[in-house]
């Protein structure tokens, strides 16, 4: 196969894509590259698929960095036994760990695999929550079809150029995008009184 | 010295509330596999199986012996002072009741038998509770349930056609039974062209099936009905042509003549059944069997009601007695095919061994038919299902040409016979 797809795939990618950099918070144990702008995505994907032999789009997903959801009594810090005499545990407060900053951004993640040489590479791209729009990869990877629809459905990311960008998992009447951290469920006809 | 009792794994199951034993010993099949005959249940099961077969034979004996009373009833009717046409009508009515009785009783019996056979093929037990012994009353209760069940006609259905379809399907089945031999000379009607009659009426039922598919207002039903039409009409041809050799050998369309033609033995021990005629007989038998399976819509040819594809095919939208009419029809045709196979190929009422000729012919007929019915059920629980186009290919490109060739072969055999080199 392609001899270049080995260790210097990352270097090739960094050289070819302007302003791309090694991500500061990588996916543990895997090479992770942060793109600077949505326009770079197709360039990087074409390079990965064409020259570097990464034919396998493994995953398309996103993270909403707005801040954690309300743990709403599901999670107790220490003592969760209601019969215990000890005072109930204080509710867990969201304290970002070191190196985590909550911000109104969506962090998109693509994972590409090179099955022949057993390599994996992650691309990521940060987008503002209210203008989440990236080019679709469906023209290059058929696997992007449903995964992008899923990200659209659950995060509200618009993939421009997707042939059939419609909801996939949630019902048609559901308002909003459930995996966004500020999602609030609006009561519908299936909710209990 | 006795070995310590083996720890059963994972142990008996008790009801949490009452503490009642639910499952005593959960045998792993590994244990059964090692020494099956050491298990008392296994031995008892084998005994029961022998008992059932003997019981069936006894019932056949009983029914057959009763048939002799028929003539006496006719004579008695004449003596009662009824006018001759009335006697004839009453006589036909009695015979009609008998035939319908056969079909209905066959429905009850065949469903139970199929459930038991499928269960034992699949290492289960099947119905075990209703009635006591091995769930013998299961189908009777099922029938009561079906009679009491709400008869639903979908809103999208064509009401009149929906009602008519099961009737159109079942009526030819009953009519077709008229000349069927239940023993030597034991038939409701003696017809010179019995074979033609049976084939003619048996092929009318497909109209009912297509009507059912069309009238249901359901796309799956429609597909099922269309498939049924294509399949049954196509398989009529090889089915008819495959028995042409039999008709050539026997020289008649009368079932009784065909039956009589197979009496006797070659070399004193090999019965002169048509299935034993070299090559021709076996090919004709296999083709007729295959075509009959296809005619009765059973696996591997059950595409009109393929449940994994078409839900239930043409009878998806039928319930209660309307639905059971279709099943009565299906099992009726299975029985019809079994009897035809027995008459055409297995010597009808003839005994397979010379020293067993004392046993009445209806026992032989019934046991041969039941054997063939078992083959039908066995097929169903062994084979996967063919696809529509494969089914048609198989019919038009294999069965039909080779059944023509078989007729040619039969001609050669008959020619040799006429020249004096034949088998007889």
């Amino acid at each position: 196969m392609n001899p270049l797809a080995g260790a210097d795939a990352v270097a090739r990618l960094l050289a070819a894509v302007p302003k791309a950099e090694i991500a500061s918070s990588p996916v543990k144990d895997y090479p992770t590259i942060r793109l600077a702008a949505p326009a770079d995505l197709l360039l990087a994907a074409r390079l990965l698929k064409g020259d570097l032999g990464f034919m396998y789009l493994e995953m398309v997903t996103a993270v909403d960095w707005l801040g954690p959801v309300n743990l709403g009594g599901f999670v107790c810090g220490g003592n969760s036994n209601p019969l215990s005499r000890k005072p109930a545990a204080p509710p867990v407060s969201p304290v970002p760990g070191p190196g985590v900053s909550y911000r109104p951004m969506l962090d998109l993640l693509w994972s590409f695999g090179n099955l022949g040489e057993n390599r994996k590479i992650f691309l990521r791209l940060e987008l503002p929550r209210d203008r989440a729009e990236v080019p679709s990869l469906t023209s290059l990877f058929a696997a992007a079809d449903w995964q992008e629809r899923e990200a659209f459905d659950l995060f509200g990311i618009r993939f421009t150029g997707h042939p059939n960008l419609i909801k996939i998992l949630t019902p048609d009447f559901l308002q909003g995008h459930p995996l966004r951290k500020d999602y609030v469920h609006a009561k519908d006809r299936y909710d209990e009184e | 010295m006795t070995a310590p009792e083996k720890q059963v794994f994972p142990g008996p199951v008790l009801n949490h509330h009452s503490g009642k034993l639910l499952i005593g010993t959960r045998y792993w099949p590994t244990e059964i596999w090692r020494r099956p005959w050491s298990l008392p249940r296994y031995r008892a099961g084998a005994l029961w199986l022998v008992g059932i077969i003997l019981g069936i034979a006894a019932i056949g004996f009983g029914i057959g012996e009763l048939a002799v009373w028929g003539e006496k009833i006719l004579v008695w009717l004449g003596r009662c002072g009824l006018p001759a046409p009335a006697v004839a009508w009453v006589w036909v009515l009695i015979k009609l009741c008998c035939v319908i009785g056969v079909i209905v009783a066959n429905g009850l019996w065949a469903v139970w038998w199929e459930r038991k056979i499928s269960a034992h093929i699949q290492s289960r037990m099947g119905p075990m509770y209703a009635g006591g012994f091995h769930g013998w009353a299961q189908t009777i209760f099922d029938t009561i349930k079906l009679l009491l069940k709400e008869d639903v006609t979908p809103a999208a259905a064509d009401q009149a056609m929906h009602l008519l379809a099961p009737i159109v399907a079942i009526a030819p089945c009953i009519i077709a039974f008229a000349p069927v031999l239940f023993g030597n000379e034991l038939a409701a009607a003696k017809l010179d062209m019995g074979v033609l009659y049976i084939f003619a009426f048996a092929s009318i039922s497909v109209i009912g099936v297509v009507m059912a598919g069309w009238a249901s207002g359901n796309k799956y039903s429609l597909l099922g009905g269309l498939r049924a039409a294509a399949q049954i009409v196509s398989y009529e041809l090889p089915r008819g042509f495959s028995i042409v050799p039999v008709l050539m050998f026997a020289g008649s369309l009368d079932l009784a003549v065909i039956d009589r033609a197979q009496a006797g033995y070659w070399m004193g021990c090999i019965p002169r059944w048509f299935v034993f005629y070299p090559v021709v007989g076996q090919i004709a038998f296999l083709f007729f069997l295959i075509a009959s399976v296809a005619e009765t819509n059973r696996t591997p040819f059950d595409i009109p009601e393929a449940e994994s594809e078409l839900v239930a095919g043409f009878h998806t939208e039928f319930s209660g007695m309307k639905w059971s009419m279709f099943f009565l029809m299906e099992y009726g045709y299975v029985l019809l095919s079994s009897f035809l196979l027995a008459v055409f190929f297995l010597g009808g009422g003839a005994s397979p061994l010379p020293w067993l000729v004392g046993i009445p012919s209806w026992i032989w007929m019934l046991s041969k038919a039941m054997l063939m019915m078992f083959v039908f059920l066995w097929f169903r629980w062994t084979f996967p299902r063919l696809r529509v186009d494969q089914l048609m290919d198989f019919n038009w490109k294999f069965l039909l040409p080779w059944s023509f060739a078989n007729i040619g072969l039969a001609g050669v055999l008959v020619y040799l016979h006429l020249r004096g080199w034949g088998l007889r």
């Binding site: 918070s25 996916v27 543990k28 034919m55 396998y56 493994e58 995953m59 993270v63 909403d64 954690p68 959801v69 743990l71 709403g72 599901f74 999670v75 810090g77 867990v92 969201p94 760990g97 070191p98 985590v100 993640l109 994972s111 099955l115 057993n118 990877f141 058929a142 449903w146 995964q147 659950l154 909801k167 996939i168 998992l169 019902p171 459930p178 | 720890q7 994972p10 792993w28 099949p29 590994t30 596999w33 499928s118 093929i121 699949q122 290492s123 796309k219 696996t299 595409i303 393929a306 449940e307 994994s308 594809e309 839900v311 084979f383 996967p384 299902r385 696809r387 529509v388 186009d389 494969q390």
Partner: protein
Amino acid sequence: MKSEALIVTGPGLEMDTMFVNLGPQHPSTHGVLRLGLTLAGEVITKAFPDIGYLHRGTEKLMEARNYHQCVILTDRWDYCSAMPNNLAFCLSAEKLMAVAIPPRAQALRVIMCELNRIASHLIFLGTYGIDIGAFTPFLYAFREREMILDLYEKCCGARLTYNYIRLGGVAADIDSDWVAKCREFLEYFKPRLDEYDTLLSFNPIFLARTQEVGLIPKEAAVGWGLSGPNLRGSGVSYDVRKSEPYCGYEAYDFDVPVGTHGSCWDRYFCRVQEMRQSVRILEAALTKLPSGELMAKGLAKVPRPPAGEAYAHVEASRGDLGIYLVSDGGVAPYRIHVRAPCFINLAILQEILIGKKVADVIAVLGSFDIVLGEVDR
């Protein structure tokens, strides 16, 4: 791809099509999948898979639960083989926490996952037989699966949703009786596989129904992101157990069966052969089962992995199951994404069904071995 549709064109010859709604209530959609099919006669001209009827939002639910509570939710994805789900989640969290798993726990994880692979492939074998019209293999397959479930019951008390593989190890130990029983099962099971081959795999009707149907070329299989036996059926030898070994899979000797031309039968037979390989792995694992601890030392009761991101994937029964886990240092995972193999495998359906007959839809759909719990999550 070869199309079987005969399209006649010309004025006045427009073919009338029929829309058939296959599912969500249908005997052979394996759950609540809905397929909108446009038919010309019996040939499909357009297929639209519609999913989401079983969407429970586990990814969202997990954001408000601690890590131990999340393991319970993972059981509900692919309920036919829940052990690899537990494992994938635990591996991703353990990667973040950098926990060393004791060797006995590693071996137990392998044993349980391989048993579950057999159980899951048995379900596939049985249900695929039913899809094609053979009822009997289903009961045989379930008879064998029952024994595996008995083994699970004996070990961890559950038969379907195990919650057995926990963060840092496994929940319960096995004893010598269990090992003996497991060996007994394997000895019993090996000849049964040959029986399935005679009954179903090499049945001429079964071959005719599946061998030339649903062909997926190598490139299409990789492009659509298929994984597991569906990918290997097309001849791509990709198995996470080989490419990125976890739980000490590199220590076991096993082959990765691959198909030749990606037909339904290839996918089916890959699974049958995988069962044999699983038996091999199990025998080796039972032989060299190390003794020792079941849980890693020093784990907090309520784990708070350090902030960071981890991706762990395992070869689950139905393909490459990946968990992308983001932690912000809190008690609950900040974000979890499941790379559900069934979900991604299913997407190719809209392409390969075109030109097939209705009966083939079932054969193709069945050969993907989907579990809607995982498709919809």
